[in-house]
């Protein structure tokens, strides 16, 4: 068993037994369903909009080299500097070098899951830089010393009282249970940090190839300050975030907001078009983009699961996932939680270590239905299971399934085995057998009938 699986099983067991926390998460997502459906109803045809959004991503992902090149040409024409990073280490080194070259001290960040993926904060802090998360949820998680719980709602699991206590402890503020006051505390704390920061690091929701712009979506306005106030702006983005046309955003931006958060549009949608130009009064002096592969090209090379690169990180699949809701986001131990995380993490970080996430699904398909860009999520979980069984078969699975197959190939053996199974079921239920023992811990089995269907059928139809 891989370490990551052992940790997952332990955390999932604890969390699935925590009824209060599970109820809290369900309640937190309760409003989402109502709002999402309300907003979906405003589309003339949500399903056609999904087709359009999916097509916009498909056409970029399936021509990725060319579309990226176009983006880079236009980004550079706008005065930006492009850096390519093959993996997390390269990306960290690039960002550290920019900071070093510019004698930076303080860094402010807006929400960027890609930076979580490459463990950027750790690297920056180890190198002596002060790093502050400016997104409220990320700020709270940073103070808690905990990874984001949900890649769109990082601290959705934290109760208001806990946030108040956290602020009292770290910022010395008076306890309060008003969400507005808590927001204001963070805001007052963060304002000066934007001004003091030398570097602002953001992510990117979309890279627009035809204009060389990057599109960032946010609800708090913190990303705008992060990008605009410090003298250096570094955007970190996965290479799959590129789209062909500015027009593509007309469908992708509202769908991102509706599918992910039940909003008509996210509050701030900003296109960043390069550093401060001559005659402009604000904006950064330097504008860098770090384009990260980090095994995305491995996913690109898999025609079956390539559509996972369509992901716009809206979080819809997490919001509807019964697994996520019952084990929580931290149990996954991944940067990207929920169904999309279970699909892509084995590609990004190794199938052998991360296939258990694909196994930990009832394959209900709620994720696939919720996905605004039509990623075939739950079927990809099946594909990962198949690939894992091929790559590193377990002896137990081999014996179990070949044994089962031996039986079901022979109807007489199946019928005889069934007869024995039914006759001994009361005894079997008491034994600590694999599978059945786990079932019996919380559920009963029906009383075994004296005769199987096939026996009764034969008797009725002689």
């Amino acid at each position: 068993m891989s370490d990551s699986k052992a940790i997952f099983l332990k955390d999932a067991t604890v969390n699935a037994a925590d009824g209060d926390q599970r109820a809290f998460i369900r309640k937190a997502l309760g409003g989402y369903y109502v709002n999402r459906d309300l907003q979906k109803a405003r589309y003339r045809d949500w399903e056609r909009a999904r087709d359009a959004a999916s097509l916009a991503k498909w056409s970029a992902v399936n021509d990725l080299a060319n579309v990226l090149e176009k983006f880079v040409t236009n980004f550079e024409r706008n005065g930006g500097v492009v850096h390519w990073a093959r993996d997390a280490a390269e990306a960290r080194a690039i960002i550290l070098k920019i900071a070093e070259d510019n004698k930076a001290k303080a860094i402010v960040k807006s929400k960027c899951m890609t930076s979580e993926e490459i463990h950027l904060n750790d690297a920056l802090e180890k190198a002596g830089y002060g790093v502050v998360e400016s997104d409220l949820g990320e700020f709270i998680q940073q103070l808690r010393g905990e990874a984001p719980y949900h890649f769109v709602f990082p601290c959705m699991h934290v109760k208001r009282e806990a946030i108040s206590e956290l602020f009292t402890k770290h910022l010395g503020t008076a306890p309060t249970d008003s969400p507005e006051e808590l927001t204001m505390i963070a805001r007052r704390h963060l304002r000066q940090l934007y001004v003091d920061a030398d570097i602002g690091i953001t992510g990117a929701n979309f890279l627009v190839a035809e204009t060389g712009q990057i599109s960032i979506t946010e609800n708090e306005g913190n990303a705008r300050l992060t990008a605009a106030l410090p003298r250096i702006h570094i955007a970190l983005s996965g290479i799959e975030k590129v789209v062909n046309h500015l027009d593509d955003l007309s469908v992708l931006l509202p769908m991102l907001a509706t599918a992910g958060a039940g909003q008509p549009m996210t509050c701030y949608n900003t296109l960043y078009s390069g550093p401060r130009k001559k005659g402009e009064c604000d904006g950064p002096e330097q504008f860098h983009i770090v384009l990260l592969d980090n095994a995305r090209t491995r996913l690109l090379a898999d025609p079956e699961q390539r559509d996972a690169l369509h992901c716009i990180r809206c979080g819809a699949c997490l919001n509807v996932c019964p697994i996520f809701k019952n084990i929580g986001g931290l149990a996954y131990g991944t940067t990207y939680q929920g169904p999309i995380g279970s699909v892509i993490t084995p590609h990004l970080r190794g199938l052998k270590q991360w296939n258990h996430l694909s196994g930990a699904s009832s394959l209900c398909g709620a994720c696939t239905d919720a996905c605004p860009v039509r990623i075939d999520l739950h079927h990809h979980l099946l594909h990962n299971r198949r690939n894992a069984a091929k790559e590193s078969p377990t002896l137990f699975d081999q014996v179990f399934h070949h044994g089962f197959n031996f039986v079901i190939k022979r109807p007489w053996l199946f019928a005889t085995g069934g007869r024995i199974f039914r006759a001994t079921l009361p005894l079997l239920q008491k034994l600590p057998l694999p599978y059945m023992g786990a079932w019996m811990k919380t559920r009963d089995l029906p009383k075994a009938p004296a005769q199987s269907f096939r026996d009764q059928w034969k008797n009725q139809n002689v």
Partner: protein, 239 residues
Amino acid sequence: MRVSLFVPCFVDQLTPQVGLATAKVLKRLGHEVEFRSAQTCCGQPSFNSGQWDVAREAAIRALGVFRGAEVVVGPSGSCVAMMRQFYPELLKGTPHAAEADDLAARTFEFSEFLVKKLGVTDVGAKFAKKVTYHDGCHALRELRLKEEPRQLLRAVKGLELIESEEGETCCGFGGLFSAKFPMISTAMVQVKGGALARTGADYVVSSDPSCLLQIGGWLSREGKPILPLHIAEVLANDA
């Protein structure tokens, strides 16, 4: 029509009344019903466990079992989805691909067969009870059946249909998932089973006997006063 019954392996062994009820309804509607006793399991447990080579053997076997059948009808959204959606995927690019597609086109889930293929919603059933309906995920999302079973239930004399909260939420069965990740599966059935019990219905009805195993097993263990019942059993009841 001559209907070939596709009886899930666990229905055969654990809940045979579901298979008998399915046959009874079809016969009452004037159809000839056969059961080909060479059938065993569709191979879904192996398929879902990633053992596609093993599942492929089961699929090829099933093609032989149901060769020549006019229509194949199964009282399980899950097992029918296996045959209809996943056999073609498993056998794509093999010499069996065409036959898999052909079998898929002739295979129906029970409520789907009645409503969509036969155009029947009133099968002449009586059942003076309060029931709530559980959508199995395979029926709902692989076969896209939601209204069909409800149309059938609404036409049953005396039956009161109550919708539950968490209507489209998975019960947490997921085949071997329920035993491989029992803590997650149990948390899921607590959510689902709790919502079903809160409806105050006498029965939770579903087109999927596998979900009913999970839901019924949990309800029984928790001592909740609501019983699992397959839709075929409701529709077979005419007294």
